[in-house]
């Protein structure tokens, strides 16, 4: 009971602020609503006892990426309205794509409920008290079973970072 109240609370906020985010004209307002969306998603993670995911969401997305977003928005002039996409055909295309994605998701959910155990998604929640603390497990599997992908991803990020530094560095010899 309590769980569902909490869930619908967070989910409602997430959906509402996502809608607001898309419809705002002011980029900073959109960013603020994106933050609320991310935070309420994090809340759902917490409710699912996925604590590490929760804090990861907050530290990485909210604390890291969104700060950069806002930084960029503040530093770049957004007064000048961008050329808006006004063509009808594109609106139609967008609607159709959205509909297709929605149907796909609905289909998967329906399938997974119909065939328990076989679908990609099991919607039946495990009882909370039976969940082990998953932070240690996450760490162990990252540094155990998934060590190679983890390291590859690390190296990729390192390369990207060095690239960004090199590109961002002021060239003193340039005219």
């Amino acid at each position: 009971m309590l769980d569902s109240i909490v869930f619908y609370f967070f989910a409602g906020i997430a959906v509402l602020s996502a809608a607001l985010m898309v419809t705002r004209r002011n980029a900073i307002h959109s960013a603020v609503f994106l933050i609320t969306t991310l935070l309420s998603t994090a809340g759902i993670f917490l409710q699912l006892r996925a604590e590490f995911l929760f804090i990861g969401q907050i530290i990485l997305y909210v604390g890291g990426i969104m700060v950069l977003f806002i930084f960029v928005i503040m530093l770049v002039r957004l007064d000048v309205p961008l050329p808006q996409i006004r063509s009808r055909a594109r609106q139609w295309v967008a609607c159709i794509v959205a509909l297709v994605v929605f149907l796909e998701a609905a289909f998967i959910v329906w399938m997974s409920q119909k065939v328990p155990g076989q679908g990609l998604l099991v919607l039946r929640a495990a009882p909370a008290e039976k969940l082990p603390p998953n932070t240690e497990d996450l760490g162990k599997s990252l540094f155990g079973a998934y060590l190679l992908p983890f390291e590859i991803a690390s190296i990729l990020l390192l390369v990207a970072m060095i690239g960004a530094v090199v590109m961002g560095k002021k060239r003193t010899d340039a005219p």
Partner: protein, 383 residues
């Protein structure tokens, strides 16, 4: 404070959406900015955070002192000079009184001159203390201000005991002194001077070796000696640039020829050197005071001057080493009871000219650290 951040150019957009990509930004510091030491307004032209040009807008405190002088008698004008550099009123008065004495061709008696020297040196310490406190506050050190105020208070108490006033003292009269030194003057000065050495050490302990302070002041606001001279900058600014020159030694006045003291000089002419020079000047002033109270000659304190002063027609220029630099008075007499023209050469005004030279190429943050170093008092700049 609502228009603090207004850009000077009205055409720039209202919303500060962009800071990058702007080629030149003009911002306004003052006249009500907390660290411009009064109502100084500096327009800064910035490239990013770097200053590429500046312009001082002054005159907010202009009272027309020089015009007033032409409409007052010589004695009546004396209190007005206290209001120029109001944190060093005694020095102003000394310069004016000596200038008029020169014009009258009289000399103050030796006793008066020694007492004048003592009070002027105390005033120099007080002025430097105020400078030190506010300058440290600009750079973010809160505490030195209160220590400096504590010591300055003792000096002001001595002034109060001597002449009844603390800030605008009008301590001296043309021809000497009005008041005889009060009984415990020597003892008070001595007590202050004895305790003061430890206090200066306290400031030094807080700031001199502090690596943040060094980082904020070293190589900041450089002014070479030839620039100083070309721009007319004088006083501690000039000495910090390495010119060993002090009017008290070069053209002694009052009783300075009787005392031994050193002229501190800096090496680079940066903000740090100006700080060191002023600290050392306080030490030297203290030594002068100690020497002076050793032997205050007896005798009259007032030369024979009439009640109505009518200097013979002519003109005279007299300058003293005020705490801020050369304070000069150029007085023209037409033989009447009122000066025909009094020109005051204000050290702050001319030192402020060097500000532009000092802040070019530095970051905006450094501007705050540099504005304090010429030790300007807007009452004197604007007169």
């Amino acid at each position: 404070m609502n228009d603090l951040a207004n850009t000077i150019d009205d055409r720039t957009p209202q919303r500060p959406d962009t800071l990058l990509g702007a080629d030149e930004l003009v911002i306004n510091m003052g006249p009500q900015h907390p660290s411009t030491h009064g109502v100084l307004r500096v327009k800064l032209k910035l490239d990013g955070e770097r200053v590429i040009g500046s312009e001082c807008v002054i005159g907010y405190l202009h009272r027309g002192v020089e015009k007033i002088a032409e409409n007052r008698s010589y004695q009546q004008f004396a209190p007005y000079v206290d209001r120029m550099d109001y944190v060093a009123a005694v020095s102003n008065g000394l310069g004016y009184c000596e200038a008029v004495e020169k014009l009258l061709m009289v000399e103050a008696p030796p006793r008066a001159r020694v007492i004048r020297t003592i009070l002027t040196e105390l005033q120099r310490i007080a002025s430097h203390l105020l400078w030190l406190g506010t300058h440290a506050l600009d750079i973010g050190a809160l505490t030195p201000l209160f220590y400096c105020m504590r010591e300055r208070e003792e000096i002001l108490k001595i002034f109060e005991k001597y002449c009844g006033a603390r800030l605008t003292t009008h301590a001296f009269r043309i021809g000497g002194l009005q008041y005889e030194a009060y009984d415990t003057l020597e003892k008070d000065v001595e007590r202050f001077c004895r305790g003061f050495e430890a206090r200066i050490q306290e400031y030094s302990d807080l700031l001199t070796g502090n690596s943040i302070w060094l980082g904020r002041t070293r190589n900041v606001g450089l002014l070479k000696a030839e620039d100083c001279i070309a721009l007319g900058a004088s006083g501690p600014v000039l000495r910090a640039s390495g010119v060993k020159w002090d009017l008290r030694k070069a053209m002694p006045y009052a009783a300075y020829d009787q005392y031994k003291f050193e002229i501190p000089v800096g090496a680079n002419g940066d903000t740090y050197d100006r700080y060191l020079v002023r600290i050392e000047e306080m030490r030297q002033s203290r030594l002068i005071c100690l020497q002076a109270i050793e032997n205050i000659p007896a005798g009259p304190i007032m030369a024979r001057v009439g009640k109505v002063l009518k200097p013979p027609p002519g003109e005279v220029y007299h300058a003293i080493e005020a705490p801020k630099g050369i304070l000069g008075y150029y007085i023209v007499s037409d033989g009447g009871t009122q000066p025909y023209r009094v020109r005051i050469r204000p050290p702050s005004f001319i030192n402020l000219q060097a500000l532009d030279k000092m802040i070019r190429g530095h970051l905006v943050t450094d501007v705050v650290a540099i504005i304090g170093t010429p030790d300007i008092v807007l009452g004197e700049v604007d007169r």
